[in-house]
């Protein structure tokens, strides 16, 4: 049962990811990306990571992609032809990479590594609590660094956007 779901989600993720770059209409690309986000969330649900699934949809589908669509619609690009002559190169690279991954997979037929903190433990305490604990204890330093970087990016964006306003007032 789990395998059926995994292969369904994986197939749709792969298919829609290709569509995102292959479709000519940017709005359709954004929609393909939306479908992909949902299936990634579905993959998280099959792994019993409901919190991640919900956050995936809230952040990526709910906020970031809406901003993309916003920009695409403001510029009102009906179709974008500039990047589509890269298709042969991209195809060649893609096929090469796929063969490499396949070769690696065939060569290293080792048993899958034992799962760390087991899924059952997460199901008992609730994976939201587990993620919170891990973020604020084991991974506290990387977490804080990530927040600092995001803060810097935010301030940078504001300064860039306000540049001409500051110059005109001086």
């Amino acid at each position: 049962m789990n395998h059926i779901f995994f292969f369904y989600f994986a197939a749709v993720i792969a298919g829609t990811s290709v569509l995102v770059v292959a479709l000519r209409n940017p709005v359709y690309s954004a929609l393909a990306l939306l479908i992909m986000f949902f299936h990634v969330a579905g993959l998280y649900v099959t792994l019993h990571a409901e919190f991640l699934a919900a956050v995936q949809i809230v952040v990526y589908a709910g906020a970031i992609l809406v901003l993309y669509l916003f920009v695409v619609m403001l510029l009102s690009i009906r179709s974008e032809e500039r990047y589509h002559n890269q298709l042969p190169v991209a195809g060649l690279l893609g096929v090469t990479l796929c063969t490499e991954v396949l070769l690696l997979l065939i060569q290293s037929r080792t048993a899958p590594s034992a799962p760390g903190r087991s899924v059952e433990a997460a199901a008992e305490t609730g994976n939201t609590e587990m993620i919170g604990e891990a973020l604020y204890s084991t991974y506290l330093f990387p977490f804080e660094v990530a927040s600092l970087i995001l803060l810097v990016a935010m301030i940078g964006a504001i300064i860039l956007a306000k540049k001409d306003i500051i110059e005109t007032t001086e």
Binding site: E50, F51, I57, A61, G62, V66, F70
Partner: protein, 355 residues
């Protein structure tokens, strides 16, 4: 067999909840016109049926038989898809709303929770996730119509929904800190035992500021007056659904009302104790009729939801529309700092006075 039965019971529950929601939408269309009428010293609709009560059925029939027009130059695929994308997220959120006490009954040898379709442990996040998807219907509807009014309406809506969604999410965090759970069932149960336990006034830190931020932001998120800039009729004709007619228009219309009901349900469950009565226990329970106590709880939940729905109409009759820059400034410079400050203070209070 087991799976089939479970599926059948779930489908029956979903059908029941959908039926109640659609019925409430019908009641709301009439109630809105009647309440607005009374507030403006008019009668409201009076022609169809006694006292105009059959007006929603007449409206529904009219919309059903209207010609379905797709404007020239519109993107047919997205034009068709947009109303569905608006309606489905509005309906799907009701899956995690607890309408009544969390009891289990035996049905065909299975444990069934009659008043909540699915008690998932991230209930409130689930609702936030699908509420944010509802914006796609509006944006794509505006874009695919190939009309400048629709496009402007869609763009306004995108900016507005993103800005105010953030405030809704942050306002809820205080409640989550106090209850220690993301499940709406557990949040409601944490408020049992009288109105002084409702999170809007509960110790150690009353969520009254979060409540105000939530109510204002949810009005903005459902595109209602005074935040109805995406469909401002004086400047944008009808905003993002200018070009829609017939059943497609009806879909957008139902989605707006279903969203109103959904945010009212969430407000009732998070801040006003959900199905809990404002006194400890239930009167029917104290009288020894424990088997019927759920009726009282469901009635209390409905009363709270209808209070919020009435608030929507009340605001519409009272307030003028905001200007667009005022709307953005209000969202980011007033609502957001209040919501953030509430989180900090609630966290401190919850740390020193754990419940």
């Amino acid at each position: 067999m087991e799976i089939g039965l479970r599926l059948a019971v779930s489908l029956a529950q979903i059908a029941a909840v959908m039926g109640v929601v659609m019925l409430t939408v019908m009641v709301l269309t009439l109630a809105e016109r009647k309440v607005l009428g009374w507030m403006q010293d008019r009668m409201g609709p009076m022609e169809v049926g006694p006292y105009g009560v059959l007006q929603p059925i007449a409206d529904g029939l009219k919309l059903f038989f209207k010609e379905d027009i797709i404007p020239a130059g519109a993107n047919r695929f997205l034009f068709t898809l947009a109303p569905i994308l608006a309606l489905v997220p509005a309906m799907i959120g009701f899956a995690v709303i607890p309408f009544g006490p969390s009891m289990t009954i035996e049905l065909f040898g299975m444990q069934v929770k009659p008043f909540v379709i699915s008690d998932i442990n991230i209930g409130i996040l689930y609702i936030l996730a699908f509420a944010s998807i509802g914006a796609y219907g509006i944006i794509l509807g505006g874009w695919s119509s190939n009309s400048k009014y629709s496009l402007l309406g869609g763009l306004r809506s995108a900016a507005q929904v993103i800005s105010y969604e953030l405030n809704v999410g942050l306002a809820i965090v205080g409640v989550i800190l106090l209850s220690g759970s993301l499940s709406l069932v557990k949040i409601t149960e944490a408020q049992a035992g009288g109105f002084w336990n409702w999170f809007v006034i509960a110790m150690p830190f009353p969520q009254i500021f979060a409540f105000v931020v939530y109510v204002i932001s949810s009005v903005a998120e459902t595109n209602r007056v005074p935040f109805d800039l995406p469909e401002a009729e004086s400047e944008l004709v009808a905003g993002f659904f200018t070009e829609y007619s017939g059943m497609r228009f009806a879909f957008f219309f139902i989605a707006e009302y279903a969203n109103m009901i959904l945010v009212s349900c969430v407000a009732a469950a998070l801040f006003l104790g959900g199905w809990n009565a404002p006194y400890p226990g239930t009167i029917l329970g104290h009288l020894g009729l424990d088997a019927l106590a759920w009726i009282e709880n469901v009635v209390w939940f409905a009363a709270k939801v209808y209070f919020f729905l009435f608030l929507f109409f009340w605001l519409r009759a009272t307030l003028p529309r905001l200007r667009y820059d005022q709307l953005m400034r209000f969202g980011w410079k007033v609502m957001l700092p209040i919501a953030l400050g509430n989180i900090v203070l609630t966290a401190i209070a919850a740390y020193f006075f754990p419940r």
